[in-house]
Subunit: 345 residues, 2 copies
């Protein structure tokens, strides 16, 4: 939810009885501390902070030059000059992590890679519950072995970046239904199910699977508090059937979003773009300019497979509505499965 | 469930209160009539017959020769002679359909392509309810426009062949959670959810999503009535984490199964193998010989993403157990969502 969920959404969701999540992957250390403090000041409810575990990148000049050249047609289309080669490609994770320890939020979640065991323990010593994101059973086992407090099972439906870190690719696209059940069966930790959960029916469904909680992202993209660009919002509001694809063209890491011209044009090259965070950094100005220009054909329109079910409203009202829907759905299923003595009709 | 669900499983499931399904895609017209009659004789409960909508194939000689050559190393490994070029590649669908009309089962389901409207109406005139298999919202709309009675939503988790017919490929791998919700939202027909449903928790989950029923295949593969080879069964019993992939190497149509040597060796060629049913026919003897020899590295080990949760037992006992589990799961979710007045803790 980078670029979509900031302080306001986090507070709104937590105040409504959900657990808001601050997408902190792109924040400076100071911002992590300050925004966490701002949330704490305005709600007494639990909230979480999400970081992306990214190793420092030092691509060679030729790699960067080739990647920049691939993007030239798009820069020209938007009237942008070639920018100088960046000095750094992502915020330093160790600095972010140190700031997170100072902020000590009630919950911290991580994606893209594992923490070290001392990092997990340092957070827990500060009273922070640690959640690891897994796209496969093997990844869930790896997080569990580090002693984390819960697993986020990121199903294949989910929008945005894939958390995959052991075997990136199609094998790490496991549907939420199967992934939640599989992880619940073998890992003795609470499972937070993510991917394709768009309303209270989805919440009730993952609770039935044994999940401890439902994690929703795409479902909030049309909320008042979502900080996405107008072009991204417009595309979601007018989206057709079956609109999403997985691509690594924008950032060098597989991510699910609404298909568009950039993804299609880059399809033949996408296996060759430099890995995250390099490609992510190199397309940053392009994406910002595209958002500014309302040019959604080259914007990263992250969204999950349930995106057509996204609804507008305040984030807090959505949370309350989904909970009422979950109650209604659970009542419906309870009546249906208890209305007769056995299965035969 | 071709090769896995025959007369015995169909009867066992229907007698237990589920709705058994006869996998009839490879049956002769006479077998369709006779096996349907045999089921009817032994149970008064509803059952369904599943057919695959396959157009006649007439590949040119060079295509067949190239495909045969690709398989040579595997024939040699199994000590098989090169077989003569087949005269036909699949049972004639029109003949199968005519037999189905005579058999007039309570329910008939179809995958791989659409029926014509007169075909749908002919079945309905015989009292048969018609179910169309969809892997995307667009496919569900296409079936609905033909006037069918229900949609089977085949989520990306599902084992065996993908039903995809509009845009085959990754875009037609939509997780069961999202696909069920998406189709339920826009198509005014009962939705039968399939893919990743391995036990009663999964059944309760898809009912919560709004599905009218849960369709389970992989969950039956270890049942007493499953007619799969010993090698296939062994691999399921000893399967590791995250074992499945989608491949078209075996049959020329995307299908999900347990990864093995044949799939890996054919990975670079799989886009070039002739489309179903040609490749399916050309690998038939190989797969039969591999099953005979217990050589699971070149057997099509169809299975869904939840396969590690498959359990042994009689199919009827499994159905009853899943229903009890579904009742327990729905009670649990009902209590959890109704135990307090609002969402805040």
């Amino acid at each position: 939810m980078l670029g979509a969920s900031g302080v306001e959404m986090t507070i709104a969701v937590s105040e409504a009885g959900g657990m808001g999540a601050l997408a902190a992957g792109a924040l400076t250390p100071d911002d992590i501390v300050e925004q966490s403090a701002a949330i704490r000041q305005r709600t007494a409810a639990p909230f979480s902070v999400n970081l992306l575990v990214v190793r420092p990148a030092a691509p060679d000049g030729a790699t960067v030059a080739a990647a920049m050249e691939r993007l030239r047609p798009w820069r020209e289309r938007l009237g942008l000059e070639a920018p100088p080669t960046p000095n750094s490609f992502a915020p330093d994770f160790d600095d972010q992590f140190a700031a997170l320890l100072r902020a000590a939020p009630p919950v911290a979640s991580f994606a893209f890679d594992l923490l070290s065991r001392p990092q997990v323990e340092a957070l827990q010593a500060r009273g922070t519950l640690v959640v690891g994101t897994a796209t496969t059973v093997a990844e869930a086992r790896a997080w569990a072995a580090l002693g984390v407090d819960a697993i986020c099972a990121q199903g294949g439906e989910a929008g945005g970046h894939r958390g995959e870190f052991l075997k990136p690719g199609p094998g790490s696209l496991i549907g939420t239904m199967a992934l939640t059940a599989n992880i619940h069966a073998v890992v003795d930790l609470p499972v937070i199910a993510a991917g394709g959960i768009m309303n209270g029916r989805g919440v009730a469904a993952v609770l039935a699977l044994g999940a401890a909680a439902a994690q929703m992202g795409t479902a909030f993209l049309l909320s008042d508090e979502a900080t996405i660009s107008a072009a991204w919002r417009d595309r979601i509001e007018t989206v057709g059937d079956d609109p999403t694809v997985v691509t690594r063209a924008f950032t060098g890491r597989n991510a699910r979003g609404i298909d568009n011209g950039f993804i299609r044009d880059m399809r033949q090259d996408e296996d060759h773009v430099p890995a995250y965070p390099v490609q992510n950094r190199l397309t940053r100005e392009l994406r910002a300019a595209a958002a500014e220009a309302g040019e959604s054909e080259m914007l990263s329109l992250w969204a999950g497979q349930g995106v057509s079910l996204a609804r507008a409203g305040s984030a807090g009202d959505l949370v309350q509505r989904w909970w009422e829907e979950a109650r209604a759905a659970s009542r419906e299923v309870h009546e249906r499965t208890h209305g007769r003595g056995d299965l035969r009709r």
